[in-house]
Symmetry: C2
Subunit: 212 residues, 2 copies
C-alpha cells in the first residue's frame, strides 16, 4: 500500500508529519513524500525543511493521497500542474485525504463537488467556492474523501483511516506506540471553546491558511 | 530566543515536529534544527528526512534545547560527542526539554540526577539508570527540565512551555492556530486505558524506543 504525501513550499509541517507518524506504521504501508521537484521543501515557518524523495511525475498510482495545508496552498491553487496531478492520482486512490487548508486543494482539483468536507476553521468559509459543503467537524469522511480540520487534526484523521484500512486493533496499537493520550494544558483548541476575543483577534490578524 | 532541536539518525519525526509547530510560533522565537553534520537526517521509519540546517558545533547557546526520542537514541547513548554537546549547551539554557526516549539522552548527559522525569512508556524503566525518578505523567517539569511522554506528548509539552515562556494568552492563541482540540477515535493512547493484552504484546514486540 503506497501512501503519497504532497509537499509544496510553505506547507504546515505537522499537517504532513502527524498523519505520517500514524499511517506509516500500518504494516505493509510505504509512505512517499512527493513534490513538483525532489529535494528539500521549506515549511511555513521557514526554519524547517522536509525532503521530497520523489517528483510528482514519479508517483502515479498511490493507494492513499494525503494533501497537507498551510499558507503555501495559495500558490498551489494557482498551479494547474499540481492540481492536475492531484486529480490524476485521485482516479486510482482508495482514499484521498487532506489536513487543514489542504481541502481547498482537493476542492480546486474538482474532487469535493457536493461533498461534505472540513478545513482549518479560518479556511472553512472558502469550501463552497469549490462546491463542497463546509462541515465544522474534526474529521469528515464522505465516500473515499476524508478531510481533517486544522493542523493537529491530521493525527485524528490518520487514526480514523488506520482503523478503516487495517482494523481497530492495528489502530489501537499505533495509538499506543505514539502514546496519543492528549492532555492539552489549555482549552482553546477550537473556535467553540476558545475565548471569543481570541477568535476575533486571530481572524483579523495576518493568519493566512491558504485562503484562495 | 533561540530554540535548538537536536536531530540524529532514526529519531521519531513527530517528537521534533510537534513541539516545533507550537514553539516556533512564539513571537521572537527562532528554531534551529541541528545535527552532528548538517543536511538531511532520516527518521525512524526511513521514508522521511528532515534537514538539519546547522552543525552542533554552530549551536552554542540556545535558550531552549529540545531532544526528541526514537530508536536512534540507542546510538546517541554511545556517542560521547553528542552527549557532551547536550551537557555544554544545557549550561546556558533557560529550558532543557525532551520528548519520548529523548529523556534517556538528557539522563546520559548527567542532567536528570535526582530529578523527576518521564519518557515513552516503554522507556520509563530505564530512567533510574541515570539517577532520575521515573514519573508516569504526560509532561513532567522539574526545575528547568521538562520531559514529555511518548511521541505525541511533545505537543502538550510545547503548549505548557509556551505558557511559561510567553504567557497563557500566547499559548491559547497558538493552540487555536494549530486547532489542537484532539479527538482520538480510540482510547488506547496510554497504558492505563489500552487493553492489557495490547500493552503486553507491544512490550514483547520489537518496539524499541531507545532502550540503553
Amino acid at each position: 500500500m503506497q501512501i503519497a504525501v504532497l509537499l509544496y513550499d510553505r506547507f504546515t509541517a505537522l499537517d504532513a508529519v502527524g498523519p505520517y507518524e500514524v499511517l506509516g506504521r500500518i504494516p505493509g504501508a510505504e509512505v512517499v513524500f512527493a513534490a513538483a521537484r525532489p529535494g528539500p521543501v521549506r515549511t511555513d515557518q521557514g526554519t524547517l525543511a522536509v525532503t521530497a524523495d520523489a517528483a510528482l511525475s514519479e508517483v502515479t498510482s498511490p493507494d492513499v493521497l494525503l494533501v497537507p495545508g498551510g499558507p503555501g496552498t495559495a500558490d498551489v491553487l494557482a498551479d494547474p500542474a499540481t492540481l492536475d496531478w492531484i486529480r490524476r492520482v485521485d482516479a486510482g486512490t482508495t482514499w484521498t485525504t487532506s489536513v487543514c487548508s489542504g481541502s481547498l486543494l482537493l476542492g480546486a482539483a474538482g474532487l469535493l463537488e457536493g461533498r461534505r468536507a472540513t478545513s482549518h476553521w479560518v479556511s472553512l468559509e472558502h469550501l463552497p467556492a469549490f462546491g463542497a459543503v463546509p462541515t465544522a467537524e474534526r474529521v469528515v469522511v464522505d465516500g473515499k474523501y476524508a478531510t481533517a480540520a486544522g493542523v493537529s487534526a491530521g493525527i485524528d484523521l490518520a487514526l480514523e483511516l488506520t482503523g478503516r484500512i487495517a482494523g481497530d486493533e492495528t489502530a489501537r496499537a499505533i495509538q499506543l506506540v505514539v502514546e496519543y493520550d492528549p492532555r492539552p494544558p489549555y482549552d482553546a483548541g477550537s473556535v467553540a471553546t476558545a475565548p471569543a476575543g481570541l477568535v476575533a483577534a486571530l481572524r483579523a490578524s495576518d493568519l493566512v491558511v491558504g485562503a484562495p
